[in-house]
Subunit: 332 residues, 4 copies
């Protein structure tokens, strides 16, 4: 690793999560240099002036910020909540084989999920065959979440995409055949947010995915936890099972008082994956500067999005959704 | 409670589980007295001579053992692996309103599940709406299990019936309307026991049940655990969730050595539910002697069996199975 | 094991703990038969009439109850809070080598502590060399405890005797040389119960014991826990350490709500050791009926009491207390 | 917080821990800039050339590196293994009231211990009165540790200093009176490393400290763990107790296989306190740049060192060590 060269980053969109990425790139990732940020909101740019290093340029116009074509790209998941847009992005990237385009599936950069991947590669778990995964958000009584839901793509895309990506990562070979999924089935209900029904969305959704190789994924997405953000993955193999984040502890403190023996939970995904976001940038930087292979591709985001869309369709239609021989969901 | 009267028990079938029931009735349940056991195997009767109190009579013929009609009955679950037989038993019991007939769903007599039921009744969890439950047996490499599988009714009936009963107990009102279930869906695979395919059975089965009131059950039945018998139930309510048996600890010992920080697991369901089997007899005895109401009825076993049969049918046909307005599964 | 013979028990003293022993003997221990109970309180005898089997005789006078000499004895710990009385009892038992006299150190009959003993015997932990043990009672705001304290012998005898016995069991060979202890040191304070000072007692006491073979015991006795009764033992060996009861869970229920991820604790020692008290009677019954060797002797209670007395003395005098060559504490 | 100014750092000594500090300052601490490193070993300086940013100067001579007086200082603990040297450093710092001199007691910058401090300040735990703390290192079979032990100052200083500092932080008021400690007592043994005896050192040491305000600390330092680095602190208050790092988990992965239900442990203190070392630099940087008050002083390191020295002396002499009215241990 040489420190002589640093990779220059521009961050497009510095809202809730983008501002954290910008700070990580500015301060916590040695080979990455933040040179510009862009946001249509003036208030975000003012935040940038105060919280980012003095030399960082600010733009309100993304085209001006990028100014020329031919940049490597680190994309947030999902590429788009619309399957066709995602598909076009994937097609577009194929035209630029010299550029690195990576999707930031944060869990793939989390040390615990990585440890599981290592165990699978090493054979410690035998053949992994079943995954039960949950992304359960803390209940938001402020009303913000419901407004956000309209544009989120629905619970299976917004929450479930990570669980789906994990299942593909753990259960499928690295170059899967064109048809990866046999079928999916989903159901759900609104226990706290009946107003989601108008978006065909739910606050608790359950889905099952049967992969073509026989592997099974069970997911549960929820917006109604009282104790915090609780995302939990079980991977069953023939030689053992592993659980990631069985207890979503905020820290290493256990309290014993009139409420029992207890721990505090991470309130949001951010406390849970804080370090993963840093790892993600560090790794992408190395990939570009040292011309290393990508660990996750745009097409992975597209394939995960297909499954999420199929689950949403199954929920809407009350029927299983099958995939055709080309690997496309039959959204009839 | 008076100790002046004891309830006399005859145990029919003293194989693996029956012998334990006989010992519990003989030695661990103050108001219950074991007076007879019956088994077609001579070796079981010899075991009885050596291990049960001297006065206990032994029979090889069940009719002789019972000798007259009109007994209260504590039944093992499931009533039968055949739905029609179960239905006939339920019909038969209706003819004898003066007799107590209870199905021994052991988990309903376990102190931890009871604590959950109490919390639900007290409103501590708010509205319970979703249950994720797993009955995962330790992998049996002896070959015994596969032989047993042929007569077990399949994984959804043999393992899943308990999870289904819990879901009905926790999610449904005590006198549900005739139609309780909307639909079920199931899938599964054989990862260790391909020979189960010939019985239309699997070693890992996943099912979802959507109740008419909107409640959802997700179950996972497995025969392939390496660490022990692991049965795990999560109950999600609007005010909190509870987990029963998150770690299937055998005892209160934690070891810290070259394998990490670890606990030993219960090898079978018996170590897990040892005390529940005693509670079950104590409670049934009180019900009969003190003429108390039954906490669980024959019809509960029938309703659970319908759901299990629907799951098995869904697995076989690859389609969701719906229930009709009379509450019967449409096994088309 | 033959069921033809049962061992007849008389229970002397059926107050708080004695009544539980009586019920265990009456109802939960197959080879033991309860024939009589004795208590100076009439109300206890009335309780017995209602809660014990009809044939059990009741006595207010212990001599009449025993009516003749030559009984086997299962003693509660400590034999006496007075060292000299304990010593006389031990001397007296030596005159009756044909009688079984066992001290009911309940932890020795608990399945978890037994598992640790097995591991030590099997060499799994290597050489055990250090024990850290805590007996921490739930804070009693009713005032009962302080009244009781006057006659309890002090915290090191009342709470600590079990931890001391465990340390002797785990660290010393089964037939230790006459001098087992090198020295002890103790300190403590009253954080909730200043009124204990008048009995030279504390509500939190800490002690260290250095055994002649180099083994070390650290104990912490407390009366001031908010969450429940928490007794916790760590055994350090050269190949690993074990912890017994790291989390004093009441049952297998974990709650996740606004207070975090939490479990309820055992309120008293009784919920923690319920089964151990049954095991204790079963085992003593077998020992007498089948003439088996005793697993724990009167002299073990005496040796533990010496250590407890030395700790109490160290606390009072502010100095370490040494043991002489005959194994007697130098209570100067 | 302004980013216009950065604090320039020179790191003196870039061996095992110093190299990590240098990397943290170079890459993970936004307002801190690494300008120079110094080490007498040429190989360390070569490491610096390859792993630190291009502009960082390297020195073999500390005087040249510092080149002038009047620098703020962030010191590693302990200031010195020799009490008198520590005392002189503390005296020297008094001459420069305008300079910030902080001791990097890493646990004070760990988010979990900080949470405990917050709880104490908020009164959540009531009055904290007793601390049981353990710093237990993984057994090192390479022989490195024993060589290192000669210069480490002994187990109570090398391991125990952190536990002692925590106890002072949690139990004492922020400006304690001159006499803080009443007395200490220590014992220990060598179970794996008999060769330590020649340094008057042990591989397992136990100590008790009685503070003048009645608070008690029990510490256990060990070099012989099999499972990893396990440092564990219990803080007992009148309203509850807290445990920090009850399970020294390396990550959020739990494995269930033939060895039971288990987690992997942090191998060394570094994995445990990785983030605390970053926090420490960030905080010291803010203190200097923004002229904030110091949270921990040189004198705290001296006071902790006095207690550690008293424990070592108690171990050597077999007697309690008392402190005089000026707060000095009577090392007779």
């Amino acid at each position: 690793m040489s420190l002589q060269r640093q990779l220059k980053y521009a961050v497009l969109g510095i809202g809730r999560m983008g501002s954290r990425h910008a700070q990580n790139i500015a301060f916590r990732t040695p080979r990455a240099e933040l040179v510009a940020v862009c946001d249509i909101n003036q208030s975000s740019l003012e935040w940038a002036k105060e919280n980012l290093p003095p030399g960082v340029k600010t733009f309100q116009n993304a085209d001006k910020c990028l100014d020329e074509a031919g940049k490597h790209v680190l994309l947030e998941k999902p590429i788009s909540i619309d399957l066709e847009t995602s598909r076009q992005v994937v097609e577009e990237t194929k035209k630029y084989p010299g550029l690195k385009v990576m999707v930031g599936f944060s869990r793939r950069f989390d040390e615990s999920y990585r440890e599981v991947k290592k165990m699978i590669n090493a054979g410690t778990l035998g053949t992994p065959h079943l995954i039960k995964s949950a992304t359960n958000d803390q209940h938001d009584s402020s009303g913000f979440f419901v407004k956000y839901a309209a544009a989120s793509g629905g619970i299976f895309i917004d929450c479930g995409i990570h669980d789906i990506d994990l299942a593909r990562w753990f259960l499928l070979p690295s170059s899967p055949d064109i048809k990866q999924v046999k079928r999916v089935f989903a159901l759900g209900h609104n226990i706290q947010h009946p107003e989601l029904a108008k978006y065909n969305d739910v606050d608790n959704g359950v889905g099952v995915v049967e992969f073509e190789n026989g592997g099974i994924l069970v997911i549960h997405c929820s917006r109604t936890m009282k104790h915090g953000h609780d995302c939990f993955t079980e991977v069953f193999g023939t030689e053992g099972k592993v659980i990631v984040n069985g207890n979503p502890q905020l820290n290493r403190v256990e309290i014993r008082d009139q409420y029992g023996v207890r721990t505090e939970s991470t309130p949001t995904y951010y406390e849970r994956f804080r370090e993963a976001f840093v790892n993600e940038v560090n790794e992408f930087t190395d990939i570009v500067l040292d011309n290393k292979p990508l660990p996750v591709f745009c097409v992975d985001a597209l394939e995960a999005a297909k499954i999420a869309a199929a689950l949403a369709h199954s929920f809407k239609t009350n029927n299983p959704v099958y995939f055709d021989e080309k690997g496309e969901p039959l959204l009839l």
